[in-house]
Amino acid sequence: MLAFIVRRTLWMLMVMFAISLLVFLIFFHTPGIDPARQMAGRNPTPQTIAAIKQEFGLNKPLPEQYVLMMNHLFISRDLVSYTNRGLKVLPQIEAAAPVTFSLVLGAAVLWIFGSIIIGVSAAVLRGTIWDPLLMVVALIGISAPVFWVGEVANMLTQSKFHSSPLFSWVPPLGYTSFSSDPAMWAKHLIIPWITLAILYIGFYGRVLRSSLIESQSEDYIRTARAKGLSERRVLFRHSLRTSMITFISLFGLDFGALVGGGALLTEVVFGLPGVGYLTYNSLSNLDLPVIMGTVVYGAFFIVLANALVDVGYAFLDPRIRPT
């Protein structure tokens, strides 16, 4: 097991290195953009530009620049934004992370409960009208673009029905931190939670249903039935447990991706200053250090989630040996 963990960690580092290299190469050859000019601001003198090139090592060959940037990012941790020289990248990400985390955690709680209810109900009620009905609802959740659902939600809660008691509590778009005002923090996030959860409730509901149904034909379930266990016991004690393996592994991957900045569309639509929003802004501005910072941050969570899921698999399902 230890060897497996070590190997996985090395693999994680390698992937992050590869991603950072990929981002660096994508952006450093962007035509028409000169980072030194961007940083120097308006009407700089040639001396100013020369000084910036010196300070940020923009004269050096590409590999050296890459190493310099990684140094600033990880070791000295003082990487500075290109579009705003007074702003350090890491504190920006640190400030944005709790916002994304709040959004994703809340949505995750909602979608776990929602999808279990839908998935289990659909499997139990197989054969009746409810099964396909629930599945259509789930499919609608998957098929609606998340940014459009968010826009429609905004229209309904901020404008059309804002004066009605149903939505009058909805505050204007934005974010309040939990520590400063927990009630307002929740109020800001309820509609975004629901919006983000809709997509995943649909997806996980279907996944759960299909693995429950599939497990019905497995041998160990037939054994359990032969032993005389009730259907309910079979479902909850045995089928659900095995089905949760897939569920949890997929959940881990999705959660990791979202926390790393994958919820960018939701954040942009609801005006939540999270990591996704930061990433999107930095991409619009071609602010390379911030892009690098946010992408590496995101990649870290994805790879971490991947690794944790694989380790978890090994624990949960004794049939699977870590390779």
């Binding site: 953009i33 961007q38 001396q47 000084a51 007074g86 204007p172 778009l173 934005g174 005006g271």
Partner: protein, 571 residues
């Protein structure tokens, strides 16, 4: 939009001393500012107090006075920092008057215009308790060079400045500070009639000697004004509180403010900001309200909307060196074809903008109305634009033989720029070209289209100039010297360089030192010559819309600093 970076307060990039059209204390744009009639300033009385809640989508470009160059930043910095001179902090045309700030009086230049002696206000302290002394200015100005400030051009005429680099800067020969006598003597290499205006900008504000030689980031500098920065969380908030060390020494230059606290909420989209102001959750939004909400706020919240003229022009430049716009007929055709009323409509409505065919905005020194590119033009072209002349446009294009060519129209990603860009694309397609739109974020847009190596054919541009000097439009944007090939910061995106226009410009510049009237005539002539050559497709002169919440009182709009934030009441 007026809040585009680096448009503001830029003086001539090329050439040395630019003669101010009418001395210091020049009156700026005329035209009333609605709601500014009260003009009370200097916080005192029952309206003191409260927390003012402001909103902006993006971060200020910097809170460091040496580096900040955007309205969003400057509207804060005028409340926290002071320089030798300032502009009168009132609304209306008076707001363009130069007044002394940390200097006790605006000095007359001696020694043939090359020396100024400033007496510094005694007993002014920074918010950290340190007293303000003359050497703080010398230190601040040297610091400008050391941090690579984009405003070093304001100090360019000081003796010794040309030798300053980001590594070392010693202005001792040009700036003599006597801290015991509280005087600051400045020597210039040549007379610079605009020097006093230049040092009114935040670049030249006093900073304590402890200020680091790099952008201060989120650790603000100590303040001299009525407010100081308490915190800055990029993307989230800026908080300003009263400066306990402040006492009002000049009501004109730096009056006491009314709110006890000023809080900016950052990161919201303009749509959300409008809703917040409507609900009273915020007092003002930095951005212009999106066009789609204007009807709503104009009809339902009429008393909270303030409209003021800006000395600004919005246009599309046409690259005179790339086809099809290297053909004069094509450029003129476009000027005939464009429906300026439509562009005004896309901006938000006829009350918010005025169509124009020329470079200079109305009520500007050197402005004489001139529009040859209209249906039924007035005699000599000296009239207003009325309607497009499609027939003439089409015949010009047919004569040019450029029909069917590919054209890429460039715009920023802001709603306004994109919508005007889409309209121009549609117009070009109607005229027989194959046009499409490319939109870039503001942070990289100008760097891209300004650089001649990208061969941008036609693109959005805007310029807001509150320095009432025609040179700042014509010389800065359309002279041969303004075109720097293969440079991101060439302000002359049209790559326009015309010998006779240039010599008219030179004439105007030299006349400016002696006769304002003669200079204005030359500027008007240059404006007409340029318009005839049509390097631009001017659309309109915009007005500024401020949408404030119900509780905001004493709204004042200064032609220099726009909405005077701390002079408004929130209770």
């Amino acid at each position: 939009m007026f809040d585009s970076k680096r448009r503001l307060f830029a003086l001539a990039l090329v050439g040395s001393a630019v003669a101010l059209a009418s001395g210091c204390g020049s009156s700026g744009s005329s035209g009333s500012s609605s709601g500014g009639g009260g003009n009370s300033s200097g916080g005192s009385g029952s309206h003191m107090g409260g927390t003012m809640k402001l909103q902006a989508t993006g971060n200020p470009d910097s809170l460091d006075p040496a580096i900040a160059y955007e309205v969003e930043s400057w509207q804060n910095l005028i409340m926290t920092n002071d320089g030798l001179t300032g502009f009168k902090r009132v609304g209306g045309p008076d707001g363009a008057t130069l007044v002394p700030d940390l200097a006790t009086a605006v000095p007359q230049a001696t020694d043939g215009g090359k020396t100024y002696v400033f007496h510094i206000q005694p007993n002014v302290k920074f918010s950290n308790g340190e007293p303000v002394v003359p050497s703080d200015f010398k230190h601040a100005w040297e610091r400008d060079f050391l941090v690579g400030s984009p405003g070093t051009w304001t100090l360019g005429s000081i003796v010794g400045a040309s030798k300053c680099t980001a590594k070392a800067c010693n202005l001792s020969s040009g700036v003599v500070a006597d801290d015991s006598a509280m005087t600051l003597t400045v020597h210039l290499t040549a007379p610079d009639p605009e020097f006093l205006d230049k040092v009114a900008l935040p670049f030249s504000d006093a900073v304590p000697k402890s200020a680091p030689n790099k952008d201060i980031g989120t650790n603000p500098l100590p303040a001299t004004g009525p407010y100081m920065f308490k915190s800055y969380v990029p993307g989230q908030s800026i908080t300003l509180v009263r400066n306990p060390q402040f006492h009002q020494w000049s009501k004109d230059a730096q009056p006491q403010g009314y709110p006890n606290e000023i809080v900016w909420q950052l990161g919201l989209q303009a749509d959300a900001e409008v809703t917040n102001v409507e609900n009273g959750n915020a007092d003002w939004m930095f951005e212009q309200p999106p066009p789609g909400r204007l009807n709503e706020i104009a009809t339902q919240y009429k008393s909270q909307v303030h409209i003021n003229p800006l000395t600004a022009t919005y246009w599309f430049f046409m690259n005179v060196n790339t086809p099809p716009f290297n053909n004069l007929k094509v450029r003129q055709a476009l000027n005939y074809a464009i429906d300026r009323n439509a562009t005004v409509k896309l901006y938000g409505g006829p009350a918010l903008a005025q169509p124009t065919c020329q470079v200079l905005p109305p009520n500007f020194p050197g402005y004489e109305q001139y529009c040859p590119y209209t249906a039924n033009p007035a005699a000599g072209g000296k009239g207003a634009w009325t309607a497009p002349d499609m027939a003439k446009a089409k015949s010009l294009i047919a004569a040019s033989g450029t029909k069917g060519q590919n054209v890429t129209v460039w715009s920023e990603t802001t709603t306004l720029s994109k919508s005007e860009g889409e309209y121009v694309v549609s117009l070009l397609n109607q005229l027989g070209y194959h046009a499409s739109l490319k939109s870039l974020d503001r942070g990289v847009y100008f760097d891209t289209v300004d650089n001649s190596s990208n061969k941008a054919q036609i693109g959005w541009w805007d310029w807001y100039q509150d320095y009432p000097a025609a040179s700042d439009f014509i010389n800065t944007l359309l002279s041969c010297g303004a075109y720097i090939p293969n440079d991101d910061h060439s302000n002359n995106a049209a790559e326009f360089c015309n010998k006779s226009v240039d010599s008219t410009i030179k004439t105007a510049l030299s006349q400016g030192a002696t006769s304002t009237a003669a200079a204005n005539q030359s500027w008007a002539k240059a404006d007409q010559m340029i318009t005839d050559q049509a390097p631009w497709l001017p659309m309109f002169n915009p007005k500024n819309i401020d949408f404030v919440s119900k509780r905001v009182g004493n709204y004042q709009f200064s032609p220099q600093w726009l909405f005077l934030l701390d002079q408004a009441w929130v209770q």
